[in-house]
Amino acid sequence: MTRSAQWLYGWLLLLPAAVLLALFTHYPAVATLWHSFRSTPRGSRASTFVGVDNYAQLVDDPIFWQSLTNNLWFAIGTIPLSITLALLMAVWVNGRIAGRGFLRLAYFTPTVLPMIAVANIWLFFYTPEYGLLEQITGAFGMPAHNWLGSKNSALAALMVVTVWKEAGFFMIFYLAALQQMSPQLAEAAAIEGASRAYFFRRVTLPLLMPTTLFVLVNAVINAFRLVDHVVVMTRGGPDNATELLLYYIYEIGFRFWDSAYAAALTMVLLLLLGVVALLQFWFLERKVHYQ
């Protein structure tokens, strides 16, 4: 094939995907930047250039700052825990554990259930007085607690739901990776007298590194993407204790109809994700060879 034919083929093959990507990823990202410097049109008042007004408003907006810190806590609280649990689950259902089939199913169910539906079920678990959690803690004589209705526990309650939802999904990736590892390795180690813990730390974990990175990327994205349970369970309350960035963007954009301010908020989220992406590339370059 000639060089120009190669070029032509490459571009043509890429074209359909590129058009859609440009239209729904690159253009909106740039348009968001543009609109974040303009005002929201209302009635006959057209949109005008307002410079950094929207960003100035953002700096002064306590709810924005709170949603940002909430989101960081949310990420810190959900990412490591769901990854650790996923790994643990994968190791268990990969081994010779009693009831392996059932456990696999149990761990994986949250992935197939829509968040919007299970959030309603979790709402029952957290209900004061007669909710499931209260029935259990009550049986042990523990004091009652309004999980979703107190500022100090509402976000944590949502984190639990998120970890529950995600761990099973990540488990599949770990499971697939574990099954590819040669069983001879473990046998050899056992004959040498290495404990399971030592083997896990020195052999399994490093071999799972690429999987961990892949899962990590997903977990980070989900920490900023997943707000379905906020819509159902708390709507950002009480007093913005569970306001996450994307949910705030949704509120501003589609309940308050302030698209310009929503654009400025989106820019912050994009920036955040951009930083994470850069960190990951940098890390990938150093640690893993991905080609």
């Binding site: 209302r42 009635g43 006959s44 709810i63 709402l123 209900t127 004061p128 007085e129 007669y130 009550g138 004589g141 004091p143 009652a144 309004n146 979703l148 209705g149 107190s150 500022k151 708390t234 709507r235 309350g237 009480p238 007093d239 913005n240 204790a241 509120e251 589609f254 309940r255 308050f256 109809w257 302030d258």
Partner: protein
Amino acid sequence: MKRSTLWGWFVVVALAALSGATLAQAPVEISFYYPVAVGGPITKLIDQFAADFEKENPGIKVKPIYSGSYQESITKALTAVKSNDAPTTSVLLSTDMFTLIDEEAIVPFDPLIKTPEDQAWLRGFYPAFMENSQTGGKTWGIPFQRSTIVLYYNKEMFKDAGLDPNRAPATWKEMAEYAQKLTKRDASGKVTQWGVQIPSSGFPYWLFQGLTTENDVQLMNAAGTETYYDKPAVIEALQYWMDLTSKYKVHPEGIVEWGTTPKDFFERKVAMIWTTTGNLTNVKNNAKFDFGVAMLPANKRRGSPTGGGNFYLFKQAKPEQQAAAFKFIKWITSPARAAQWGIDTGYVAVSPDAWATPVMRKYVADFPPAAVARDQLQYAVAELSTHDNQRVTKALNDGLQAGLTGTKSAEQAMKDSQREAERLLRPYRK
């Protein structure tokens, strides 16, 4: 005759013939967004109304479009306005009035109200409903499916606590006292039955407005440009709500979920709840005990906000469509129809005349709780609504939740809410 003149005459005659023909043949079609999910029993009622109206008015076609929840409906309506495809009329929240005016989506009804008969019709509605429908001396909305807050209580629990099951608390003080008698604790001191519950998730401002009205204070001005969240009487109202938990210990701690409150009541976890009149049918069907419905208790006066939806007229509709829609709105809000509507749906019939109709009288005689909402209307006030409504309301919601979860004092919470509302409303004061 010059040729051009001849042509001119021809065009004029043709046009006249054509327009005469359209008047005679093509009926005026009015599209009508209605905020209800498709498939429910309410759609059947509306379809029936539309058919009946068309029979009486052969020149008009009514096309109802079921647009989901209120939130979805306003979205749909505003989107339609922006793409020049607005409906002729729509039922939307009464609190959306300022938003719709600011978006220049709607027109006032005043130019259409010409005859003395029309004026009498307009005066026929309960004034409490009209408060949310008029601003700047103009009428922008016509009340249709409206509600208010009432108190539901468990008569069996009243009996057990030695209270008269036919007498609900009439004042704040009484409510706190009753609630103390109705709150039960087990041996370890854990509450097994609460005295009272006022939901505070999602839209606590609405229930709070019951308290502020009873404390004889307004939350906003009629022009929708000012709020009074930090007035002492408002702070006092929040303090009372907080005291129910912290001082009297008769109300659950933290935020009480609106959605689970009826269930809490059915589960006998709480003796008295505040919720919408729209819950009457639900409570009637699911409470496995004798229950009572009462007006909210008074402090300085009785009171409750109204809620629910109004008819609006869209600017983009043609004048003849607007006129036809006006005719339809007058027709559907007439006493007989309004009474039927109230009985079938549980919404509060919007005019005193509707309550005077024989069907309605019979209904109330058979099921007295239905009349509680009506009797309370004389004390009712407009639901909180301002320019940039959703945000200004959120400022109050956040403050209320901060107070109720104990993170701020009542005074601090309301001062913060007021400051935020001030900032948001400044651009609307000219």
